[in-house]
Structure formats: C-alpha cells, structure tokens
C-alpha cells in the first residue's frame, strides 16, 4: 500500500517516514485522499494539534488518539493495529520526561514501521523530532510554497527579455 502525501512524497507500507512540511501541504495530502478511506488510519496528536482542526471529517475515515504525555504515546504505539499511523509531533510531550523517552518513542516508531506505514510529522523540526527522525527510513523536507522566490514580474507590457540578444550557446527552435 502506498499513498502520496504530496506529489514528491510517496509513503509506503513497512516504512517509517519523517516529514517536515507546512500544514497546508499535509492537509491537502490528507483531505480528499481516496486511499485514506480504504485503510485503517490512526491519527495521533499531542496536547495541541495544528492539523486536526483542518481535517475535513467527511473526506477521510480516521481514528484519533491524543497523547498528553510521552508515556501515553508509547502505550498508543504499542496498542496500534492500524494500517497507517500518522503522528503529529508535539515537543511538549517530552518536557520533563527525561531525554531517553524520545529515543524510545523513535525506536517504537521504527519497530511499528516494519509492518505499518508510519509517518512522524512536524511543521518545523526541533531537537526531539530530529532525534526520532534519525531512526526513520526516509526523511522528507517539503518547502513552504510561500518560501519559494517570487517569479519575476514583468514591468509594463511587451518588455524584451534579452535586449542584448540571446545568451551565448542557447538555441531557439527557429534556429534549428
């Protein structure tokens, strides 16, 4: 089983992927995705979810579990029976829990990813996310559309693009 979270991000069963992407990219990939209606999909969030409010409940067939501590998260991962597990990273789960807990969560994700499609997602990575992502089979970074350099805007009408002639060595179809 595989599904495209984004045209350049294809996720497969039996892998643990870490994804860093803007929320709108993830929401576009989750909402109205026909694959997600056919399989058991578990969405796991922490204390605060930036994704859940944006999910269109009619378009996906998902189950949700919220972990309010990292220990609850470990319990959820151990109990999971779903085909797809999507974990929205929440750094506050690891506050005061000791550094080794995040490594254990990463390890649990890796083990679960041997039989399941596991995604660890964050809008922006932090230290605990990166610790866990080190154990992932693949890590995807999707840039925000807004972060791309703006396309050059034409000033006025009919401006000649290469007033000094074409760059050297470049051919046009007319010249072929």
């Amino acid at each position: 089983m595989e599904f495209d979270l984004h045209p350049s991000v294809t996720l497969r069963s039996g892998t643990f992927s870490a994804v860093v992407a803007p929320e709108e990219v993830v929401l576009a990939g989750l909402n109205d995705n026909p694959v997600l209606r056919r399989f058991l999909f578990l969405f796991v969030s922490g204390n605060y979810s930036r994704i859940l409010p944006g999910i269109n409940r009619r378009s996906v067939n998902i189950e949700v579990r919220r972990a309010f501590t990292s220990f609850q998260l470990l319990h959820i991962l151990r109990e999971s029976y779903h085909t797809i597990v999507f974990l929205e990273h929440d750094a506050s789960l690891y506050e005061g829990a000791g550094g080794e807990v995040s490594s254990q969560v990463g390890e649990s994700l890796r083990q679960l990813g041997q039989s399941t499609l596991v995604v660890l997602y964050a809008a922006s990575p932090d230290r605990t996310f990166e610790e866990m992502a080190r154990l992932a089979d693949r890590v995807f970074y999707v840039a925000s559309p807004a972060a791309r350099p703006p396309a050059p805007r034409a000033r006025g009408r009919g401006r000649e693009r290469y007033p000094g002639g074409l760059p050297r060595g470049q051919q046009t179809l007319g010249g072929v």
């Binding site: 204390n47 189950e63 949700v64 309010f68 501590t69 609850q72 470990l74 807990v101």
Partner: protein, 655 residues
C-alpha cells in the same frame, strides 16, 4: 498529637507538634516503590538484579482500575527510573514520586493540624495558635541591610532599628522567648533567606526554625489557566509555620484557618499548604486519600485516551455553555447559581477514570470529592452568619474549582481527558435543561455562564425547587434590584462584564475597571466611589437621578488628574516572558527592572507607571515622578463609560 510541621530528610520523616515543648519525632522511612511487569518472565534478569541489591517482595498492587500482581522494591526514584528504561517503559511503577512525610502520615493514620481522633472533614478546627507578626520596613527588592523591623508579640508592638546585626540578634531573642507556633510575615519568602544569610555572616541565628535548620522550596515559573505564574522560592523553618502573608494566595483568600484546613485535607505540612496552588492541594488530597485507602498512585501518566472516531471527538471536545446577554439594565433579576457544579457532577454522575469502562462501579474521584462537597455546603451556609467559616469556605471553594481542571491535566494521577469532557458535557446539559425549565415557567433568560443563569421573573422559589429536584444539584438564588450587562466593542453583550445591586443593598461587580487587578488605584477608587453612589439607587428613576452627581465627580477628577501622586497610577501586571517581541509597557518594565538590578522571572508581577504611551516608556512604581496624563485620562474615561452606561440605560427604560 497535633502535628504542626513535617518533613523528610535522609530516609527519615520528622514531625513537630504544636506548642512550646511540643514533641519532635523522627521516624525511619526508607523510600520504596511498587513495580508491575506485564511479562515478568521477559524480565527475569532485571528482577534477579533488583533482588540482589534491594529488599524486594511480591505484593498485590491495588490501582483504581484493578489489582495487579507485582513487587515492592525498597529503593528510591532513581532505581525506578532505571527499571523503566531497562524495560523500555513497559513496566508500570507506582508510589515512586510521593512525599515521604505524606506516605508516613497516611500509613499511620495521622493527620496534620488535627487532634487525635478528630475527623479530617470536620469544619470546626483550631486556628488560634500562638502567632507573632513580623514586618520589615525596607524595600525587599533593593539590596542593602535591614534597617527597620517590627514585631507584634503578645499584642505588644516592638520596633527594632539601628545596625543590622543588632536587629537580627534582637529579633532572634524575641522569637525564641515568645516561641510562637505561627509567624505571619509579609514578603517572608523574600526576607527570610536574606535575614538567614546575614545572620550566618554575623555568626547569629534567626530564631525562625525550631531546630535551627530550614528546607528550601525552589522558585519556579509555571503555566496555569492560560497565564504564566511565578512561585517565589522559600526557606521553610522546621517546626514552625511561617506564612508570607503578602504572597500566599491561600492566606489572602482563606486566612490561617484555610491554610490549616488545606494541610489537614492534603496531608501536607501547613508551611506547604500556604505556598502551594489550589491545584496542587487538590492533587495532594487525592494522593493522600489514595494512600489512606491503599490505592497505588501511578508514577507515570501512561493510560491514554481510547481510540476516538474523528466525528465523536469534535462533538465531545467543547467547553462550558454560555448564553450571551443583551447589553442593558434589567430589574427584578434572579441569579441561580449551582454550588460547586463540576465536582457535584463528578459525584452525581459517578465520573472517574475507572468508571468510564465500568459505570456500575463506585468511582475513586466521586468517593473522595463527596466529603469536600458536603463540607462546602456546610461552610457556605455557616459563613453567612459566622465570619470564622469564610476562610474554610474559601479554601474548599478553590480546591473544588480546580478539581475539575485537574481531571484534564496531562500529569494528573487520577485524571483522564474523557472524564473532563464528560463533566463539561453534563454541565452543558444541566444549563440547557435549566434554561428550558425557566422558559417553561415564564421566566426570561437574560444570561448564562457555565454554572449560573440570570433570569427575570417572579416565582423564583418554585423555580429553584424544581431545578434542584430535576437536576439533583444544590443551588443558591440571589435577587437583584437591578443588573447591568455591559456591551463589548461591537455593541454585543459582554459575557463577563456586569454589575448590579442585590436586594440587601450590596453590589456585585465583575470584569470592570474596579475589579481588574491591573487598574491603577486612583481609577479604581473613583469607579468604586461612583458605583457606591449608584448602589444607593433601588429603582431605575433613582439611578437616572444620579447623572449629574456622577458627571460632576468625573469632571472633577479629570481636571485634577494631573495632580494625583504618580504612585497611585501604578499598573501591576504579571510578566509572561523576559523577551517581549513588540514594544509594550511590560517590555519597558522588564528593562527598567534590569537597569535597577532586579532579577525577574516569568510570572512575576511588576508595577509601573506609564510615562509616555506613544513609546510605552514606563517608570517603576517606587521611582515614578510623573505620568502620561493623556493615557490615564483614557483609562479614566473607560471606567466612566462603564458606570454611565447604567444611567443611560435607566433613562432609556423610562427612568
């Protein structure tokens, strides 16, 4: 054995009785924890290793959910942490992070601040302990020696002045000779560490501690109900109750009686019940109750929320119900208020983590909250005639208020988010049901906030009786001669800004300038004065008749505002951070404190006077010599608009 203080040190618990010559007991109390392994055979090596190093025995572990077969390990928390890691967090650990003194008291059926055999849930408790009051005249936030200190001993005021060494020496002698059980001291948690450090430099003691030793309570910033709060660190003396009367929320709200009741209920020493938040008190009470009942207290919060369908999550995850009022002035209004609604719903509906799956079983939470609710009913009734019960009522109120939020707190030992949601769900049903009853009985519903409803109508006794019968919840009804709901900026009704006159002539004021903690004293006083004038009016025509006296007062204060002392313009606010991104008065106040060498932490309160609102320039309150008159005139105008709105509405209603 009336225990005034407890602590644990080096594997021992120490207790102090009240009174001169009260017994000081030292009880051996080696730390231990309970361990459950889902698959003990997979961890044979671990068990063997533990058994070699520490006393270990098989035991039954009774949790709120079930009884497990596990082990009691006589070792500290650091061993519990190692076990967790080695089992990849599969092991369930209990009772690893509890206060040893609380455990010993629970095991031996001892209760702080209580005579032997006395019920913890009795509302008649001794609070006339021998007390001494101490105050220091110097500024606690500036370095330098103490130059003036006052003591109130046996009704006699003693002022100590001169060089610091003599002051400390005399203070020590006076405390030792009076040997009070209680010391009431404004800013004690700032002054005592300084006095103790200076005393040590001079080779003296302070007399605060009955053993000469102190325990250190560290300072911390924490997040509570959407605000950054700060708890100042403290040096806690052995064997004596030291209350920082300025900083202790419970002392301000509940007095000494409330602090002692908090200790009695939570199993904590009163030195801690004076300093801990209401949330910590209720959670300590639950832990103490669990220990007394032989229920194990989980070390980690690992029982997660059940799998939810996305649609059911959206439906359940809502807060309290509110009805928006129409701005205006209303007469013949009644407010029906549910006493401790959320905890009462926990008890009524048997809501507890373990009853989610087994609703027929009597839950732990309802069981421990029921006696508190019964006490609150009693104190609420008695305080109306006897002010001695007001403090007890206040501490119970705050503990019960926070018990609901605690069910949803991520680290709550006995909380679960589904319980939290079930409580708010029940409360929404109750408020909607009461609204239906009111409308059916011909009342107009004016406003509703979570646990109270404002209605306009006459047959209020029958209404109250029916509400109590149908909801099985206790209510209190208050009658208003008139009530004002203020508008928001968009002219729709504000949910939490209103004021009115009760039938007995007293006023209830919520959310307006005179109630806000950050309103300058000058503006607060003016608004209170205006409200007191309005409070003389029983009817709308009488309110309308106050237009001119009110306007005259407003004109007068507006004219004389530039002459007011700058200190009266101080605005006190808690700072949420030390690094503000935008220009604001709090950012300027943080800079001003830094310039004065005052160390701040998020959650601390700073007091400043705005000297230029365009740049948000401020002076610290104690240094301010001027203020931005235009800025304070605008604040004054807002306070005035909140008052004159009542007059305008009264005139419109035909007054």
């Amino acid at each position: 054995m009336w225990i005034l203080d407890t602590c644990s040190r080096n594997g021992q618990v120490e207790t102090w009785e009240r009174g001169r010559g009260g017994r000081h007991l030292v009880i051996p109390a080696p730390p231990s924890f309970l361990l459950y392994l889902p698959d003990p055979h997979a961890h044979g090596d671990l068990l063997e290793g533990l058994e070699c190093r520490f006393p270990l025995e098989e035991c039954h572990i009774r949790t709120v959910y079930e009884t497990l077969d596990g082990y009691r390990v006589q070792a500290g928390r650091e061993v519990a942490d190692l076990v967790e890691r080695q089992t990849q967090y599969e092991a369930l650990i209990f009772n690893a992070d509890l206060r040893l003194d609380q455990c010993v008291l629970a095991e031996r059926n001892l209760v702080p601040c209580s005579e032997e055999g006395e019920s913890r849930f009795s509302i008649d408790l001794l609070s006339d302990l021998p007390a001494m009051e101490i105050s220091v005249a110097d500024n606690p936030f500036t370095p330098g020696p103490v130059t003036s200190l006052s003591l109130l001993v046996d009704g006699r005021q003693v002022r100590l002045e001169g060089d610091e060494k003599t002051i400390i020496s005399d203070m020590e002698a006076l405390i030792r000779s009076a040997d009070p059980d209680v010391i009431l001291f404004p800013q004690a948690d700032v002054w005592v560490p300084r006095l103790a450090a200076r005393a040590a430099e001079y080779g003296l003691g302070t007399g605060f501690s009955r053993s000469g030793r102190f325990r250190r309570l560290s300072a911390k910033s924490y997040w509570s109900y959407g605000k950054t709060e700060y708890r100042v660190g403290a040096l806690i003396p052995d064997g004596r109750l030291l209350v920082d009367t300025r900083q202790s929320f419970h002392y301000r709200e509940s007095g000494l009686a409330g602090i002692l009741l908090g200790a009695r209920l939570s199993g904590l020493p009163p030195n801690l019940s004076a300093r801990f938040t209401s949330g910590t008190l209720i959670s300590s009470y639950e832990v103490y109750e669990a220990l007394r009942q032989g229920i194990a207290v989980p070390y980690r919060k690992s029982d997660p929320e059940a799998v939810r369908r996305f649609s059911s999550l959206k439906a359940a995850d809502r807060g309290g119900m509110m009805f928006q009022p129409r701005p205006g002035i209303y007469t013949a209004v009644h407010e029906i208020d549910f006493t401790s609604l959320y905890p009462s719903l926990i008890v009524r509906d048997n809501l507890s983590p373990e009853t989610l799956a087994h609703p027929g079983r009597r839950g732990f939470l309802p069981g421990v909250l029921a006696p508190l609710i019964a006490m609150r009913m009693e104190t609420k009734q008695k305080k109306a005639h006897d002010p001695r019960y007001a403090g007890l009522d206040a501490i119970l109120k705050w503990m019960l208020v926070t018990c609901f939020g605690y069910t949803g707190y991520r680290n709550a030992k006995f909380g679960r988010i589904e319980v939290h949601e079930a409580i708010t769900g029940s409360a929404r049903d109750v408020l909607l049901h009461v609204k239906d009853i009111a409308e059916e009985m011909g009342f107009a519903v004016l406003h509703g906030i979570v646990d109270c409803l404002w209605v306009q109508g006459e047959a209020v006794t029958a209404f109250k009786e029916r509400v109590e019968r149908e909801t099985r919840l206790h209510t209190v009804v208050d009658a208003y001669d008139w009530l004002v709901f203020l508008p928001m900026a968009d002219r729709s009704g504000a949910y939490n800004r209103y004021y009115g006159r009760f039938a007995d002539g007293s006023l209830k004021v919520r959310g307006i300038a005179s109630r806000r903690g950050d309103t300058p004293v000058c503006i607060r006083n003016v608004q209170q004065e205006m409200l007191a004038l309005l409070g003389q009016a029983r009817t709308l025509p009488e309110i309308a008749s106050f237009r001119e006296p009110l306007r005259e007062r407003y004109r007068q204060i507006r004219e004389t505002l530039p002459l007011v002392r700058p200190a009266e313009m101080a605005i006190s606010r808690q700072i949420s951070t030390l690094r503000y991104r935008h220009a604001c008065p709090e950012a300027s106040a943080v800079q001003a404190c830094a310039a004065e060498g005052i160390a701040l932490s998020p959650g601390m309160e700073v007091s400043y006077v705005v000297t230029d609102a365009r740049t948000w320039a401020v002076d610290l309150d104690w240094k301010a010599t001027r203020f931005d008159v235009g800025y304070y005139q605008r604040l004054l105008q807002k306070a005035w608009e909140e008052v004159i709105f009542a007059v305008e509405q009264a005139e419109m209603e035909g007054g």
